[in-house]
């Protein structure tokens, strides 16, 4: 019997990434297992966004390797919701249908809009929606890709509490479908609400990767402890 193909576990082995002579990620090894959401925590500039782009296949590492289970790292098996998702200049429905292949794309897109609570806006121009609504469109669009892993890059960074809650509810629903969630954030409250395990990134290095309870109760590094106390890491 053949083992089912899967992108998990996602294993990063000594991954480095430099752009324009600047080293953004350094010697980073991380193993992402199936299960509860993995939260990538760290201050701005820690390298969280680059890490997600590498895992999604939008960037290639300058050093080291990334293995996604028994398949290649690709945008076909994973999806990414950007911090500022680009809404195509078309309707909400067309935006969600864009990433879905096959002739039932619009029907599936409608069903997804229903699940993120935006059916009533399906025919509206996507770019006229509020930030929170656009983020939900982006979630539906990423969901429509049928990903095994859904990466989220600070999806609530500029949203108010109500919109944040709506996004987190949808993320929870997607996770409940068996999709692995990997989410970057610098919002500690959000990390506490969602995390199964936490990877703490600082200045391009992975300082710790532990179960969420361990991380919040007994961080191992002084930088993580300082970040948890709300100090401004530089």
């Amino acid at each position: 019997m053949r083992a089912p193909t899967t992108s998990l576990p996602l294993v990063l082995d000594r991954v480095g990434f430099s752009a324009g002579g600047v080293e953004i990620l350094h010697d980073l090894s991380l193993r992402i297992e199936p299960g509860a959401p993995t939260i990538i925590l760290g201050p701005n500039g820690a390298g969280k966004s680059v890490l997600l782009r590498l895992c999604h296949g939008l960037l290639s590492p300058s050093g080291g390797s990334i293995r996604a289970g028994n398949v290649a790292v690709s945008t076909e098996r994973t999806a990414l919701v950007f911090q500022r998702p680009v809404m195509l200049r078309r309707s909400v429905l067309a935006n969600v249908a864009y990433g879905i292949v096959g002739k039932h794309a619009r029907g599936r897109a409608s069903a997804l809009l229903e699940r993120v609570g935006l059916s009533h806006l399906a025919r509206r121009p996507a770019r006229k929606l509020s930030g929170g609504e656009q983020q939900r469109v982006a979630l539906a669009r990423a969901w429509g890709r049928n990903p095994e892993i859904l990466f989220l890059d600070e999806p609530t960074a500029s949203l108010d509490p109500a919109a944040t809650r709506a996004v987190e509810d949808i993320v929870g629903e997607i996770a409940a479908q068996g999709v692995k969630i990997v989410m970057a954030t610098h919002d500690l409250g959000q990390a506490r609400r969602l995390a199964g395990d936490v990877a703490f990134l600082h200045k391009g290095r992975l300082l710790e990767h532990t179960p969420a309870a361990t991380f919040f109760d007994a961080p191992r590094t002084p930088q993580a402890a300082a970040f948890l106390r709300g100090e401004l890491l530089t």
């Binding site: 782009r53 999604h56 939008l58 945008t75 076909e76 999806a79 990414l80 950007f82 998702p85 680009v86 195509l88 200049r89 078309r90 309707s91 909400v92 067309a94 864009y98 990433g99 292949v101 025919r123 509206r124 121009p125 996507a126 770019r127 006229k128 669009r141 890709r145």
Partner: protein, 235 residues
């Protein structure tokens, strides 16, 4: 001022008279101009998209050449096309000098660089915004180009209108390769040039007003289409 108001009333009389000669000139003008714009759009949009997305040696030089070619002098283009199409020229055997076809060729050479250079800029700007998102959504190069052309359609309409403006106002090239033959290759602009040289300034100006009205009508129709499209398709 008297001349201007006289010309304006003459233009209205001309437009209202239903003079078949006038309508024939208007029809030929539109036929030549719209054909040249259509050809330039069909060729210019894909070439513009390739220049915007492609990375190949000589790309920067091509961009500069197309940008510069937006300022091609019509008389020079007319002269070159004339030499190519004349009896002794390399394309003389087709015998299309002094026909509307020759005029369409000359105007296409003038409009094509405008559509190419401006659409390249529009598509490149849009690509900077879209590229990561489209790749993330599994879009390949062909689908991406289609997406950029569609999502850039309202800006690209303006690009095509710039090309239409150039062709509609142009006289230097078509008067050389068309010959301004009455009833065959006479257009609004060549007729205006002729009446001006004959000294019938009022008629020339009257024809000018008719031409302006047509240009305004075409642009107005494009504007209405754009607004309707925006409301329907959600841009």
């Amino acid at each position: 001022m008297h001349d201007l108001s006289h010309a304006f009333s003459l233009a209205l009389q001309l437009a209202a008279s239903g003079d078949p000669g006038l309508w024939q000139i208007v029809g030929l003008s539109l036929q030549v101009t719209l054909s040249a714009v259509a050809i330039s759009t069909l060729l210019g949009l894909p070439v513009g998209a390739l220049l915007a997305l492609g990375r190949f040696p000589g790309r920067n030089a091509l961009i500069v050449i197309f940008n510069a070619a937006m300022g091609l002098p019509p008389v020079v283009v007319g002269l070159v096309v004339y030499l190519l199409l004349s009896r002794s020229g390399p394309l003389g055997e087709f015998g299309i000098l002094f026909t509307p076809k020759a005029m369409v060729i000359a105007q296409s050479i003038l409009v094509f660089p405008i559509v190419t250079a401006l659409s390249r800029q529009v598509i490149e700007d849009l690509w900077a915004e879209y590229s990561e998102q489209l790749r993330s959504l599994g879009s390949n190069a062909a689908k991406s180009i289609g997406t950029l052309l569609w999502d850039g359609r309202f800006s690209l309409v303006t690009v095509v209108l710039a090309g239409f403006g150039r062709a509609a106002a142009e006289v230097g090239a078509i008067i050389i390769v068309g010959g301004n033959i009455d009833g065959f290759t006479r257009t609004m602009t060549t007729a205006i040039a002729l009446e001006t040289s004959k000294g019938d300034l009022a008629l020339a100006l009257g024809l000018g007003f008719v031409l302006l009205m047509i240009v305004v009508l075409v642009n107005g129709a494009a504007w209405i289409a754009r607004r309707a499209g925006e409301r329907l398709a959600g841009a």
